[in-house]
Amino acid sequence: MAFQTPFKFTLDNYSSVISQNGMGRSFLNSLIITIPGTVIPILVASFAGFAFAWMKFPGRNFLFIFLVALIVVPIQATLIPVLRLLADAHLVGTFPGIWLAHTAYGLPFAIFLLTSFFGSLPKELLESAYLDGASNMRVFFRLILPLSVPAIASLAIFQFLWVWNDLLVALVYLQTPSKAPMTLTISNLVSSYGTQWQLLTAAAFISMILPLIVFFALQRYFVEGITAGAVKG
């Protein structure tokens, strides 16, 4: 019958995609875009989360609600204004420009998540540290961060996946073929290689590998009960 498929395992498609279509370069670009695009928002959001959760300052509530409400804003509405801003700062087509963009897009949710997690830590734990003589920085680095590993791990996975799989932001703000991440390169492959499914699927699989690795690596940090034993019951 006509449905017999010659069945042969081969890695040719992978090698051709990687060497000939610049997939190796794109993989590197994706890394260069994604890793700072994950680390920077988490750093900024964790400082912000600590301040919102545990420090008193005027305008705290208003600022918090304002920042979290920004989750509602659709990315498409920001494309042109942000592009203009980046152009004025000569950051279009540069990696720092795209790091800033991803940080800005990721912060509202990250701040929301970390503020509520930090706020759920027992107040007496922090008071005990203050009485022991810890300054705010000490409390942050030696107490809050170690105890927040589950929240930060989930945020890291979430942000990593979002930035790694992003096409729109890279398309609009990067605009330089040599700096294109994998998403951009694969979408170009579709237009140039149309129905060559073997290349497209191989490329897609390469694009998936890293997030899978990241996910499984960080998954063990989702341990409940990190704070079990600190407080009675």
Partner: protein, 370 residues
């Protein structure tokens, strides 16, 4: 080592007055227990002393130093929280060493203090464990150890026994008393349990609704409560109160409760003459009511009759829940007493231990040192 002094301290949370016109002097080396019902302000007083809250008015001194604006870590106090607040990601050893390492104490000194505290508390084998691997009693000792290594001028303890089971609580009470004797440092201890106050304190301060009611040695508060609140709070089971009228006849004064009358001993009747034909509150403790068959020598016995409502045999004592008319009261009598629910029995009040309070102000009518 230093005394602690509160002068006219006030603290509000929004509209609620948590602590009102609070004046207290705590001499050095005392074990002071702040006791009172929930919401009376005792934990607020402790937090004001620790620096976790700031007073709205008033001054607080440790030694001669005014500490109103001194941050908590510079006040030379150590606090043990009700929930222990151990750092969950650190070992027991690191929990205890944390405060010292923050103050850049040299490592050999840290080790010495941690080992010494662990030895005193009997937790030397637990030094490498994490808090989640410890039992409640062990965690509590680690919390104590963390405070001990700081060698502070005063220990502040916020209801540290409330999360322990009853048996462990009794055991730990004795250990805390011993610890206080051994360390010779001021202990300031907050609890709602008057048994803890009576057994451990050298000085008790009773609070209610933000106001300090009475301060003194446990025995003194027990024998000479300054008002109805302290009289009913200290001592378990609580003192019985009756609304009575002071009356007089040719033998002297007596108290008329309607359903019973009891004579006032001559040595107690001084001020009560001013209340002739007026209503007062008469108080008598359950342990000062006995069965006529088993009276201890040296009491001034006044007989009354009452109806038995419920009986509780405690083993060494018999608690009788009684009714006189509609008024319930409680007596602790000898375990051999015969009493059954529904029965009318004869009892004897020891009027040498009577308490009398003004019906309106609820202040005691017996002489009291302030």
């Amino acid at each position: 080592m230093a005394e602690v002094r509160f002068e006219n301290v006030n603290k509000r949370f929004g509209q609620t007055i948590a602590v009102k016109d609070f004046n207290l002097e705590i001499p050095d080396k005392e074990f002071v227990v702040l006791v009172g019902p929930s919401g009376c302000g005792k934990t607020t007083v402790l937090r004001l002393l620790s620096g976790l809250e700031e007073p709205d008015e008033g001054k607080i001194y440790i030694g001669q130093r005014l500490i109103n604006n001194v941050p908590p870590r510079d006040r030379d106090i150590a606090m043990v929280f009700q929930s222990y607040a151990l750092y969950p990601h650190m070992s027991v050893h690191d929990n205890m060493a944390f405060g010292l390492s923050l103050r850049k104490t040299p490592k050999p000194e840290i080790e010495r203090r941690v080992k010494e505290a662990a030895r005193i508390l009997g937790i030397e084998e637990l030094l490498k464990r994490k808090p989640r691997q410890l039992s409640g009693g062990q965690r509590q000792r680690v919390a104590l150890g963390r405070a001990i290594v700081r060698e502070p001028a005063a220990f502040l303890l916020d209801e540290p026994l409330s999360n322990l089971d009853a048996k462990l609580r009794v055991q730990t009470r004795a250990e805390l008393s011993k610890l206080h004797q051994r360390l010779g440092t001021t202990f300031i201890y907050v609890t709602h349990d008057q048994v803890e106050a009576m057994t451990m304190a050298t000085v008790i301060a009773v609070m209610n609704k933000g106001i300090l009611q009475q301060v003194g040695k446990p025995q003194y508060l027990y024998e000479r409560p300054v008002n109805v609140f302290v009289a009913g709070f200290i001592g378990s089971p609580a003192m019985n109160f009756f609304d009575v009228t002071v009356k007089g006849n040719q033998d002297g004064l007596y108290l008329d409760a309607g359903t019973f009358q009891v004579p006032v001993p001559v040595e107690r009747d001084g001020i009560l003459h001013k209340y002739l034909d007026k209503k007062i509150i008469f108080g008598i403790r359950p342990e000062d009511i006995s069965s006529p068959k088993y009276i201890a020598p040296g009491i001034i016995a006044s007989p009354i009759r009452a109806k038995v409502d419920v009986t509780e045999l405690m083993g060494n004592e018999f608690y009788l829940h009684l009714l006189t008319g509609d008024t319930p009261f409680l007596a602790r009598v000898d375990a051999r007493t015969e009493a059954r629910p529904g029965q009318d029995i004869e009892l004897v009040f020891n009027m040498a231990k009577m308490h009398a309070f003004d019906a309106e102000t609820e202040i005691t009518l017996s002489p009291v040192d302030t």
